[in-house]
């Protein structure tokens, strides 16, 4: 593979794939570099029911179609890799990946999205898949007639807590605040459900067990009191964090570590654009990611064309 492209996109979620489709269709040579599975959070979505023009589609199918569209226009996609170094200043940007290959381009679009927040307590990684889950639809049926905890207080936590009562005999919602951030109808539904009870102002500080999860340590935040609770499973829904750790000190981020862009999706560095869930914005949806990706692609195509024209004039 020739390692120079007009544009490099970092991230192959809805935003990155859309940018790839627009750029490649405009005959801008484009490479997408993606950590993990192509599709990003789309792959985590069982059913997308609010993507205009498609009544019901699994996130996976939607991602696969976007990927095929991008490839059909000539976009190159490399996935399941790690970007190890970024040099974004100047006219030629460079990106190095874990096998030491380096790619260069006139413009870079950052579309790294976000990921589930983890609790970060000891035992969390060890008991993943052995009692700890991040997906109710995937793993709910392993907890038939079992007692489980749902951690979180947003829409996802309360909605999934209600859906898990189909399987579990008892669901305890553990939340760090004394109120929920979820929409009222989600919390009302959870409060009405007889299988659900609540432990507020509390967090999990440790997961314990032998070959599988058996109990957790709870800390009552105001008092600092610790207690142990026997439990068969824990489902964690505590929100998302932007995937921007590797950009700190390289590009302007706000205090929430989201990338700052203007309405053209331009960052503080010339020739570097950003799109999707990793940027500062209020609504994180497939439609908004796709819209950002479109704008970033069209503005960066203009930028690349201008650079090419200028270099022709100089020649």
């Amino acid at each position: 593979m020739d390692n120079h492209f007009d544009s490099i996109i970092i991230g192959a979620g809805a935003a990155g794939l859309t940018a790839g489709i627009y750029l490649s269709r405009a005959k801008v040579s484009t490479l997408i570099l993606n950590e993990g599975t192509v599709g990003g959070q789309l792959v985590l979505t069982h059913e997308v029911a609010n993507y205009p023009g498609v009544e019901h589609v699994s996130g996976y199918e939607l991602a696969r179609t976007m990927k095929q569209q991008a490839i059909s226009f000539g976009c190159k996609i490399r996935s399941n890799l790690k970007v190890t170094s970024l040099q974004l200043e100047g006219e030629i940007k460079s990106v190095e990946i874990n096998n030491k290959e380096t790619f260069t381009a006139h413009s870079v679009i950052i579309a790294t999205g976000g990921k589930s927040r983890m609790i970060g307590a000891p035992g969390e990684a060890e008991f993943k898949g052995r009692g700890i889950s991040y997906c109710a639809t995937c793993d709910g049926d392993f907890f038939q007639d079992k007692e489980i905890i749902v951690v979180g207080g947003g829409n996802a936590a309360l909605e999934e807590a209600v859906s898990l009562t189909k399987y579990a005999s008892k669901v305890t919602i553990v939340h760090q605040f004394d109120h929920f951030q979820a929409f009222e109808h989600y919390s009302d539904e959870a409060k009405k459900n007889e299988k659900i009870n609540f432990i507020m102002e509390t967090k999990i500080t440790q997961f314990m067990g032998d070959e599988k999860l058996q109990s957790v340590t709870l800390e009552h935040i105001p008092s600092g009191d610790l207690s142990e609770m026997k439990i068969d499973g824990v489902f964690i829904f505590i929100g998302y964090v932007p995937n921007t750790e590797s950009l700190e000190g390289i590009i302007a981020l706000n205090p929430n570590k989201e990338i700052i862009v203007n309405s053209n999706m331009e960052t503080n560095i010339t020739g570097v654009f950003a799109a999707g869930d990793s940027i500062v914005k209020r609504f994180r949806q497939v439609t908004t990611a796709v819209a950002d990706g479109t704008i970033a692609a069209l503005v960066s195509a203009d930028y690349i064309n201008n650079i090419k024209k200028q270099s022709e004039v100089l020649v």
Binding site: G36, T37, V38, G39, V43, L44, T45, H46, S58, G59, Y60, S79, N80, K128, G129, R130, G131, I132, S133, Y134, C135, T137, C138, D139, F142, F143, E211, K212, G233
Partner: protein, 115 residues
């Protein structure tokens, strides 16, 4: 009933027997087309070209014959899809539960089967 992947599909007890008997090194991912499973199939599809000494296959978790994986002693404590099982000469050498990254999968492949 087969999964929508480009991997070898195991759909019955006979398929399973034949795959693990006719290949020295086998990785089988037993799952659904769900968020925790798709990334593992994706990694396996990519690794097929790199690890030519390994047979990569999938099996639908909900097929009755998938009990050959669901009921393995090694999967006794699993409660997260997919169940991924690694076989050497027909014997289970490793099993994991829930989503795995490419690095996690390759470290098992290298350790169990060599590159």
């Amino acid at each position: 009933m087969s999964l929508k992947t480009n991997l070898t599909h195991i759909e019955s007890l006979e398929d399973h027997k034949s795959v693990i008997e006719n290949n020295e090194n086998v990785m089988v991912c037993c799952g659904r087309m769900g968020p925790m499973c798709i990334p593992v199939y994706d990694v396996m599809e990519e690794l097929e070209n790199e690890y030519t000494n390994i047979k990569f296959a999938d099996m639908p978790f909900d097929s009755p014959d998938a009990r050959v994986i669901r009921d393995l002693a090694e999967c006794r404590n699993f409660s997260g899809l997919p169940f991924t099982v690694y076989y050497k000469n027909g014997k289970v050498v490793k099993a994991t539960s829930s989503i795995q990254t490419r690095d996690q999968v390759t470290s098992i492949l290298d350790e169990q089967f060599g590159k």
